[in-house]
């Protein structure tokens, strides 16, 4: 991997990190276990490694944003996660923040493109 590729990979991971948490919180408004959550995220275009997603669920649970319980489904014990009330509140706040950031970045990028096309503006 070249230095530029390595730098891109690091910046990409940094950019994705916060978004992943938001996406996981969004998905867990509905109860899911690890594998179905991963599939749901992948279906929405957000592929996450197992070694990233499953520890993330534990961390969010430790932070009080998720609750989990072991339950048998299809003859197999699975750990199901869902948002706690605190998690729901945090999700709403983060979503508002994400919308604000997204709008700002979109506006900045649009302004840059506009000034590139028409430098007199």
């Amino acid at each position: 991997m070249t230095i530029a590729e390595n730098l891109f990979e690091n910046l990409r991971l940094e950019l994705r990190r916060g978004c992943l948490t938001l996406a996981v919180l969004a998905q867990l408004r509905q109860e899911r276990y690890g594998y179905t959550l991963r599939k749901a995220l992948a279906d929405d275009g957000l592929v996450i490694d197992e070694s990233t997603l499953y520890p993330l669920l534990r961390r969010l649970e430790t932070q009080g944003l998720l609750a989990s319980e072991w339950r048998e489904e299809e003859k197999r014990n699975k750990r199901f996660y869902r948002l706690t009330p605190d998690g729901e509140q945090m999700f709403a706040q983060l979503l508002a923040e994400w919308h604000a950031i997204n709008a700002s970045v979109t506006a900045s990028v649009a302004a840059t493109i506009q000034s590139t096309i028409n430098p007199s503006l």
């Binding site: 690890g34 594998y35 197992e50 070694s51 499953y54 014990n77 699975k78």
Partner: protein, 345 residues
């Protein structure tokens, strides 16, 4: 599937021991569900090669287990800036104290040798490594205690609430004029080289060749010798150097090293007049004597007068230069003071 069992056992070894069973049970449920879906899609069990490729895609057992470990820092980002600052200070002070101790030890021995000095210089990296190791250990212990909530030391944190804009050091005169301000390394170097200069200076009476080189042997063999006035001259220079070292160290200790010190320049210019004044006030303006005046006066008398006249004239020139510099400094200080008062109005 035996390969999956072996994989999970390997992952278990790298997990926090309190949560191993729980994490492995969850991982097993998720991975088996994934495996079942893969096999259902293929309509047959995975071959060994396919299973190996799948597990390889998941990452090595250590890679899979690593994110489950709580994040630990030896020295975390919160106190790291303070650690780096203290490390720089500790290493600088270790170097200064080591230089002082080495110079004292060298002179405590009867015959200081170049080998002893060389050994002392070679030992310096170990002194610095030891200082750095102690600082690192202390900060690692502080980090450990702070992370577990045993202690709270907000003053150590980079985001300390005790910080106020009023505590910022003022801009130096040089910075205001656009020149590069005095750096910390420069302030340390001044202190260290001052001590080394003092060490070199105190070598001169016993080993004059460190000042004059081969000229020392020429002087010894010549009919001339230094007059007693050189003793107070020498000790006045030693005293001025000591004052300068003390001033630099005090400035470093008190944090004044980065502030402009116009008075320092004035004080040392005034002190610089003392050695010149000693030469000027030498009894009979005599700085150099004949070893054997009774026999050598006729032969070397005129030469001796010329040497003494040269020394006296040099001292006068030095005095004039210093006095002119002092006058210029006084004008600058007055102008700066006037500018500050005008700006305040």
């Amino acid at each position: 599937m035996e390969l999956l069992d072996r994989y999970l056992e390997a992952v278990r070894k790298h997990l926090p021991w309190q949560r191993q069973d729980d994490i492995i049970a969850e991982l097993r449920a998720n991975l088996e569900a994934q495996l079942e879906e893969k096999e259902a899609a293929l309509g047959r069990p995975l071959t060994k090669a396919e299973a190996e490729a799948w597990l390889k895609e998941l990452g090595s057992p250590m890679q899979m287990a690593a994110p489950y470990q709580p994040q630990h820092y030896l020295i975390g980002p919160n106190i790291f800036p303070t650690y780096r600052y203290v490390l720089k200070l500790a290493c600088s002070w270790a170097a200064i104290i080591y230089a002082i101790v080495t110079v004292v030890q060298l002179f405590a021995t009867q015959n200081p040798s170049e080998t002893a000095l060389f050994d002392a210089v070679l030992h310096l990296p170990w002194v610095l490594i030891t200082a750095a190791a102690w600082v690192t250990m202390i900060f690692a212990a502080v980090e450990f205690a702070m992370m577990r909530g045993y202690v709270k030391i907000p003053a150590l944190c980079a985001s300390s609430p005790h910080w106020t804009p009023g505590s910022l050091p003022p801009l130096g005169h040089d910075a205001a004029s656009g020149k590069k301000p005095r750096s910390y390394a420069q302030a340390i170097a001044e202190a260290v080289f001052g001590i080394l200069f003092l060490g070199w200076l105190t070598l001169i009476p016993q080993h004059p060749y460190v000042l004059m080189g081969p000229g020392a042997y020429w002087l010894k063999a010549s009919p001339f010798q230094l007059a007693p006035v050189w003793a107070p001259l020498f000790w006045s220079i030693v005293a001025i150097t000591l004052v300068q070292i003390g001033w630099n160290i005090a400035a470093l200790l008190s944090g004044r090293w980065q502030r402009p010190q116009p008075m320092k320049q004035v004080v040392f210019k005034v002190l610089g007049l003392i050695p010149a004044a000693i030469i000027l006030t030498a009894p009979g303006k005599i700085v150099v004597l004949l070893r054997h005046p009774a026999t050598d006066q006729a032969r070397y008398g005129l030469q001796l007068d010329a040497i003494n006249h040269y020394f006296h004239w040099s001292a006068e020139v030095i005095c004039v230069i210093i006095i002119l510099q002092l006058g210029w400094s006084a004008v600058q200080l007055t102008l700066n003071s006037y500018r500050k008062r005008a700006a305040a109005i």
